[in-house]
């Protein structure tokens, strides 16, 4: 450490640190714009000039290292004049109206103008009309606003080792652009966004509309992580997979969810839809990388797993689906004695009896449930709970209701009272438990969601020769995930989008087919009645001996259970605490939200665990760090044709090589957040 005096204040700084940084760290503001904490200083803008006793003239503090005993003055009339001149020179070629700029209010130049009180335009204006380049889907260049500070060039070159951006001298003008006149993709840009992050003005920005306006900026920059309901640190585990560390990757996933393997197969991966990569070529196959980590990682995540001492409190969890088991897992780790009461003979809820075994093998699920048992959770199957009050009477200090939405909805379509009509939830449940309802040779599934496709797949495996999926939604609006639709088509299932079933036909009290019409569009009125825009003369009949209705499910609960039921038979809870009106009774998962996804149920289970822990006197802190927090390598280097690198899908799961290849496609959007945010002058006490 060396000691020096800045404006009469004694400041200690590490040797080798720049004078500018030492001052900023000591809460003393020195104006600057070309220098940036994370980049090598150049001294090009001359804003950070200071006077040092014993040295002639003004020095740029960004390029001057601290020295023992230095006496520095950062404020004087002369320095102010020099800084003003620099700012005026920068402004001479910059649009004079800030109000139309997207960076308004967040612009370092604008803040500088305020600080230095630069008002009059005494210098000669330099015309600088450069059309903005919006050709890249991720990064937009609006170089008419560029002040040539060179931060982006240094970030791209020195920080990331990419070198796609460079100074260009052409026709007597210096500007910043992509090297050799190439596009960003051609110049092997890694689209890490650091150029955007370091740009002090509005010259390099995220492409319009790219950042989700409903998220805060930092969250929006890493959309995969912010979109995941459970908040899994996706960029971190994808990086660990790339580095050949599947065990650490698994630990990162385990920090947020106790079902990595199950999710690795059936998660509805909102993260992939949000992935910025999809703007360039195709999203990262995040789910497949999760499966790889789950299959190739060892148990080292357990080493740091939290287990608090017993609290003496007893908690009952009703229902062993993803929400219930997740809550049970974290509650047990918080030291509570947890008993899970499952009405069915098998644990797992919808993961066991809703999602068919060919998508989520029973062994995979059972292995993960076993891990939950290992932290002390007791799971009692075939234990139906009649009422909430019964639980409190049995001595539980708190109870969580996570019974899901297992009652299929049967539509009152004309002819729906005949034999041969099955309902989604019951059909899938009985099949999963080994007592399937028989299907005929020709099956029609009504509905277009994932459950409908699961019903179609199970029906085929039960012997159906011809399976039709009929839904109101148009092909591109269907609710099922694209993978499920593609898989169904590959199996020979016929899909009839934009079709309404007017009537179920029958013969001798048994189903014989459906009468359908094509529709252009549909909507629902206030009473939930469908309003159809029918295509004239489009009526047709599809013959069938079995109809499976897959048009939604609701919680299988009645008022007898003792909890107030709202719309769709769902349990009403406090949005934040998940508490029901009955003290000590909480509810989470599909029973609260209606049918959602496994990952949403897991996220709800985590919230419920934290809330119940607080209710029981704990601190509700269930967050864990299971993998070492290592600093990612900031140097990306170049990779030929990076932008176009194709997505690798592999139904049987990745091997090491494929996992490396796929994870290497990640743009590492999170690296951007490691770039130090630049504070404005108003944030410093000495300014």
């Amino acid at each position: 450490m060396v000691a020096l005096s800045i404006d009469g204040q004694t400041v200690e700084a590490e040797e080798g640190k720049s004078l500018l940084q030492a001052a900023l760290d000591a809460d003393i503001y020195i104006p600057h714009i070309c220098s940036h904490e994370n980049l090598d200083p150049v001294g090009a803008c001359r804003l950070c000039v200071v006077e040092i006793e014993g040295r002639e003239g003004a020095c740029t503090s960004c390029t001057t290292p601290v020295q023992e005993g230095m006496v520095v003055t950062t404020r004087s009339e002369k320095l102010k004049q020099m800084r003003r001149l620099s700012t005026e020179l920068m402004l001479s070629g910059h649009p004079s109206d800030c109000t139309g700029c997207p960076k308004f209010g967040a612009c370092e130049l604008q803040s500088l103008i305020q600080y230095l009180e630069v008002t009059d335009q005494r210098l000669r204006k330099r015309v600088n009309i450069v059309p903005s380049d919006t050709s890249n889907p991720l990064v937009m260049h609006d170089m008419g606003r560029c002040i040539l500070c060179g931060r982006c060039v240094r970030a791209c070159g020195e920080l990331r080792g990419v070198g796609a951006l460079t100074f260009i001298k052409k026709d007597g003008r210096t500007r910043i652009g992509v090297r050799d006149g190439l596009s960003l993709a051609e110049a092997d840009c890694r689209f890490c966004g650091s150029c955007i992050e370091v740009c002090p003005t509005g010259s390099i920005r995220d492409q319009e509309g790219l950042l989700d306006p409903n998220m805060n900026r930092k969250a929006a920059i890493v959309p995969c992580r912010s979109t995941c309901p459970a908040g899994i640190d996706i960029p971190r585990y994808v990086r660990l997979v790339r580095e050949g560390k599947p065990s650490e990757a698994l630990a990162v996933i385990r920090e947020k969810v106790p079902f990595p393997a199950a999710l690795g197969r059936i998660c509805d991966h909102l993260c992939e839809s949000a992935c910025r990569r999809s703007e360039l070529s195709d999203s990262i196959s995040i789910r497949a990388l999760k499966r790889y980590a789950a299959e190739h990682g060892d148990e080292s995540w357990k080493a740091a797993s939290r287990q608090l001492p017993p609290t003496g409190k007893k908690v009952a969890v009703v229902g062993s689906g993803p929400a219930g088991l997740t809550a049970a897992y974290y509650l047990a780790k918080q030291g509570h004695a947890v008993t899970v009461l499952e009405a069915l003979p098998e644990a797992g809820g919808m993961m066991r009896v809703g999602i068919p075994g060919y998508r989520l093998p029973v062994e995979v699920l059972n292995a993960e449930i076993d891990e939950i048992r290992k932290v002390g959770v007791e799971i009692r199957t075939s234990s139906k709970v009649a009422s909430a009050d019964q639980l409190l009477a049995e001595g539980y200090d708190a109870a969580l209701v996570t019974v899901g939405a297992h009652k299929g909805i049967k539509l009152p379509t004309p002819g729906s009272d005949q034999a041969g009509i099955l309902v989604n939830a019951e059909f899938l449940r009985l099949a999963a438990l080994g007592t399937p309802q028989p299907v005929g040779e020709r099956v029609v599934v009504m509905g277009g969601g994932n459950v409908a496709f699961d019903c179609a797949g199970v029906a085929r495996r039960l012997g159906a020769k011809e399976v039709h999926v009929i839904c109101l939604e148009a092909r591109d609006r269907m609710l099922a995930s694209p993978e499920e639709i593609v898989e169904a088509l590959e199996e020979g299932t016929r899909i009839h989008p934009s079709v309404n079933i007017n009537e179920i036909l029958g013969k001798d009290g048994r189903v014989s087919g459906v009468r359908c019409v094509s529709i252009r569009s549909f909507s629902f009125d206030a009473n939930g009645q469908a309003i159809l825009d029918v295509v004239p003369d489009s009526e047709c009949v599809i013959e069938a001996d079995t109809i499976i209705m897959a048009v939604g499910q609701r919680p299988d609960l009645t008022e007898d259970f003792g909890l107030p039921l709202g719309r769709g038979n769902r349990v009403t809870v406090d949005e934040i605490t998940l508490a029901t009106p009955k003290p000590g009774i909480f509810a989470a998962g599909d029973v609260v939200t209606g049918t959602k996804s496994v990952i949403a149920a897991i996220a709800a289970g985590r919230s419920a665990a934290a809330s119940i822990d607080r209710f029981l006197g704990g601190n509700g802190q269930i967050e864990e760090v299971l993998a070492p927090l290592s600093e990612p390598n900031p140097v990306l280097g170049t990779e030929a044709s990076f932008a176009a690198a194709p997505r690798c899908d592999c139904p049987e799961g990745y091997d090491d090589e494929k996992a490396h290849q796929e994870s290497s496609r990640c743009l590492q959007c999170d690296l951007r957040l490691r770039i130090t945010e630049q504070k404005f002058w108003s944030a410093y006490s000495h300014r």
Partner: protein, 422 residues
Amino acid sequence: MSLEIITPSSGSTMFTETQGFPALRKALSMGREALQAQTGLGTDKTCLIARAFDAESGAAIRSTLLAKTPLGILEGLGIAALALGATKAILALATPTEALNVAIPELQKLLPLEIEVRMIQPSFMAGEDSALAELLKGKPAMAGGHEDASTLVLDAETLVRLATGAQTILLQVIGAVKQEAIVEIHAGTTLRQVIFEQCGGMKGDKGFKFALAGGPTGAFIPEAGLDAPASPGTIVVGDESACTVDMAQRCLAFTAQEACGRCLLCREGSYQLKEILSDMASGKTKAEDEAQIRELAAAMAEGSLCPVGRRAADPLLTGLQHFPEEFEAHMKRKRCPALVCKKYVTFHILGETCTGCEKCLGVCPEEAIEGEEDYIHVIDAKACTQCGLCFEICPEGAIVKAGPLKPKTPKEPIPVGTWKKR
């Protein structure tokens, strides 16, 4: 460019052709410390860069040295490498030089030095050490990057001096002298001697006005400064028909065009100065311009990242210093005494001299000249753009330039011989 080479009458010259690397052999025998003492090259370097091209357009000192004594450059490079302990050298050239292909392996027999010959596109910035180093790394030629303490740039002149032991300096004199030349002189020779002895004096025996020493970022030297020792580099000599404002403007325009633009003060400062000068040459001077020139020039001199920016304002400042009346005439009286700055000049056809040959009529791009065969021609001042083409083509010298005092000329074409001045 074929320029006269004028060498000194006595003593050794840089243009001595060498063979067999005698100076290098001697250096090898004397031990590094003695060599360092003799050459003044001390600090350890890993890599040397030999600048054997001319950065400014029109300059020819290094290309001439390369053509005349490529082996001298190479030998000097070897000696420098030896003194500095460098193991790698880059010879940066703009013209292919076959002699080196044979000589390099010969030199390497004496000295283990990795030598790379690199052809580069010469540019003004490549004359700057740090920019040349960047250029050789395949990056844009920009100054002020990370200085690599292990690399040193040496000019061809320095290297040849090491090889020949010559104690001379080289100047390239161009402009209004009888003999444009590359002049080799002993230190202490005055600029007056160079211009009036070596280069034979002023072309057309016109009066000397200025010498601009050091290229576009150089300094004006007036008559009174001619007796100081000349310094190496290019010298542009101007006679009484030249205008220092115009010259300074061209210098600043060149710098603004060629400077790398990495640092703010040089990039924007030279642009501002160029604009101020252009306004000065066209009657648009503002009251605060002179103060602004001083402010910008001082800031550029102190704060630019490399010598290009630090010296960019020198032509303007030395012009103001040595030719204050000429600058004031432009700024305050809107006149160009030398009749160079177009906005202050009008062109006229003298009625007593014009023969009505129609040559001027044919070259005027603006059709601003009226007349026909055997009629005295007349220039329409409103349409004239002062391009000067008519002035140059007139075989009779009938077309003249004028400042505020205009000659009397016919208002419209009249037959040749009928014009009488009243």
